[in-house]
Amino acid sequence: MIKNDKKEVGMTLIVKTITRLTVGLILLFGIYIVLHGHISPGGGFAGGLIIALSFIHLMLAFGREAALKRLSEAKAAILESVGALLFLIIAVLGFTGGYFFLNFINKGKPFNLFSAGIIPLCNIAIAIKVGVGLFSIFIVLVILQEDRKE
């Protein structure tokens, strides 16, 4: 039997293969939910969760490094603040029409993808905040777990 000097990271080959096939689809589905938030069930929060889950999926299957290479902790922390600020800026821009949170963009035809004014933009901001926020919570818990092992 060949001894691996490197510690085996992640789960078995089956899990890794399936993950490789599905993780992109999960991410795409999350983005779909976010972008269609104003015309179908779902929205920023649900979509953001699904996006975060795709990264967490990656981390479970391939180990911590694989996921952190794509989105590091520092970047996650910055993106989280950016998402929240973006949401606040959209709300404040409503002042241009006289009210906080005013839907100041042309609302378009109902049930079109490009409609509903600021709602899709709000959804995107929320998705960034929620997705990255959940991912950072997961990272923190994982790091805590690994620290305890050492």
Binding site: A77, I78, E80, S81, V82, A84, L85, L88, A91, V92, G94, G97, G98, Y99, F100, F101, L102, N103
Partner: protein
């Protein structure tokens, strides 16, 4: 521009978390400027209320029963001034005090989030929105209590989080039932619907849920278990914030707003409020007097002073409400000052045990003198502000023919005096403890903030001068006295 209260504080919180990692100066400046701006805005709101009496701000241009609205009336303006004054002075204090902790930007970020949550609770006219802001403020405070990350702090924070979540779920259940009963979330509209449908057992059940939920938030006696752990464990500026404004905004303000302005207050509720107030007053002070941990002693006194506020407002008379609200303001000033003093002592000596202190007056004149002023104020010694509000409370009890309550209030005040004599004797007066030779007075920002608080304690009684009262206290009292007319002023305006 009511939305600015929320925009400024939230914006500051996220800007600090984005850029604060790089430079500490940026955090200090952003936090202080934004709290100062909020304080100026809240002072301005007093004049706005004087002119228009009630201002309704429609978020996104939606008409009130449909959309969320922000409501500024006398009571909210009063609470806004109290909150933003205290948070501004505490932000000054934190510049130097928080240096002893790491990750200062996280502290400022959470602090501003807590301020945003509380501003939102005070301003909102929508009951579910109130719940959301209440959660923002409490979740930020759970994290802040654990800020020191020692075993004791984590335990206190965990206990606080569990009890806080229980209270939030009571409140959420109450809001859910209320929504099922009235089919609306706007507070003014709920009030109108209840008036039309008449009183029913649903309202009674919801009242009980709210009483328990907000009672836990404001730490009235059967629900007080979290407070004596959470307050001492937090950094001193956060203890001051929790004790000074958080329990009042989340607990007392929401409770009074809902019971007086939405449900319309009844005799039964008033009796419950006075009873809870009287119990908290006595139990709090009896538990406090035996404590040797300085901050724990102060935490028990918070329970007792909140008892005064609730007892006095529970009398239901205009004079009682005036006394209660004035005491609420005064308590947030002198209790914040006392917690800042305890923080200064801890900063200098690294110790909160009264037995190990002594003679600090020689080494820390500013801390000891301001703490003397605050102690006299909390025990109700003239001419400090605490005396005037306690005087009104006792007069209101006598006027309402409740001599027993007046007696309890006097007893509470005497015991408070006794326990603060103990603090003064063991901590500041007497001979200097030999182990404390090397301590120094605290840095300038901490001294400045404590001196301003002490000045407000000294001159707080002047707020009762009729001309000043017209601006600050009278409109707040009027809102509570007029009760369910709130609905008509909000929806009509």
């Amino acid at each position: 521009m009511l939305a600015l209260f929320i925009v400024i504080s939230l914006g500051a919180a996220f800007l600090i978390s984005l850029f604060g990692r790089k430079s500490k100066v940026f955090c200090d400046i952003t936090c202080n400027i934004s709290t100062f701006a909020l304080f100026l805005l809240s002072l301005n709101s007093l004049f706005v209320v004087r002119q228009y009496s009630t201002v309704v701000y429609k978020i996104g241009g939606w008409i009130p029963p449909l959309g969320i609205c922000l409501v500024l009336d006398g009571f909210s303006a009063f609470m806004l001034v109290t909150l933003n004054l205290v948070s501004f002075l505490i932000a000054i204090y934190s510049i130097n005090y928080m240096e002893k902790y790491t990750d200062k930007y996280k502290f400022y970020s959470l602090f501003m989030l807590m301020v945003a949550g509380m501003n939102g609770v005070i301003l909102t006219g929508d009951i579910f929105n109130l719940f959301v802001f209440l959660e923002i403020a409490s979740v930020a405070s759970y994290a802040l209590v654990a800020f020191g990350v020692e075993a004791e702090e984590l335990e206190a924070s965990f206990k606080y989080a569990v009890i806080g979540v229980i209270s939030s779920s009571f409140i959420l259940l109450g809001i859910g039932l209320l929504y099922a009963y009235t089919s609306t979330l706007n507070m003014a509209d709920i009030s109108l619907t209840i008036a039309q449908k008449g009183f029913s057992s649903v309202i009674l059940f919801v009242s009980v849920l709210f009483m328990a939920g907000f009672g836990i938030k404001s730490a009235l006696v059967p629900f007080h278990a979290w407070l004596p752990d959470a307050h001492p464990s937090a950094p001193a500026s956060i203890s001051a914030m929790l004790s000074g404004v958080l329990i009042k905004v989340l607990g007392i303000y929401s409770l009074m707003r809902i019971f007086f302005n939405i449900f319309g207050v009844t005799e039964v509720m008033l009796t419950i409020l006075t009873a809870l107030g009287a119990i908290s007053l006595l139990v709090g002070v009896f538990l406090a007097i035996g404590q040797w941990d300085l901050k724990r002693l102060l935490a028990y006194h918070s329970i007792s002073q909140i008892g005064y506020v609730v007892l006095s407002i529970g009398l239901g008379t205009p004079l009682g409400i005036l006394g209660g609200l004035f005491h609420l303001f005064n308590h947030s000033i002198f209790k914040s000052l006392l917690f800042l003093n305890s923080g200064a002592v801890e900063y200098a000596t690294d110790n909160r045990d009264l037995k190990k202190m002594g003679g600090l007056k020689e080494k820390m004149p500013v801390t000891s003198n301001t703490s003397w002023i605050a102690s006299m104020s909390i025990s109700g010694i003239p001419p400090f502000n605490g005396f005037w509000s306690k005087l009104i409370i006792i007069l209101a009890c006598v006027q309402a023919d409740r001599i027993g309550l007046a007696f309890i209030a006097v007893i509470g005040s005497i015991l408070t005096l006794a326990s603060f004599m103990k603090v003064q004797k063991f901590a500041f007066l007497g001979k200097l403890n030999t182990t404390l030779d090397k301590i120094k007075e605290v840095p300038v920002s901490m001294r400045l903030s404590m001196i301003i608080f002490a000045a407000i304690c000294l001159f707080g009684g002047l707020l009762l001068i009729p001309h000043l009262m017209e601006y600050f206290l009278k409109p707040a009292v009027n809102v509570l006295v007029s009760g369910t007319e709130y609905a008509f002023t909000v929806l009509g305006g």
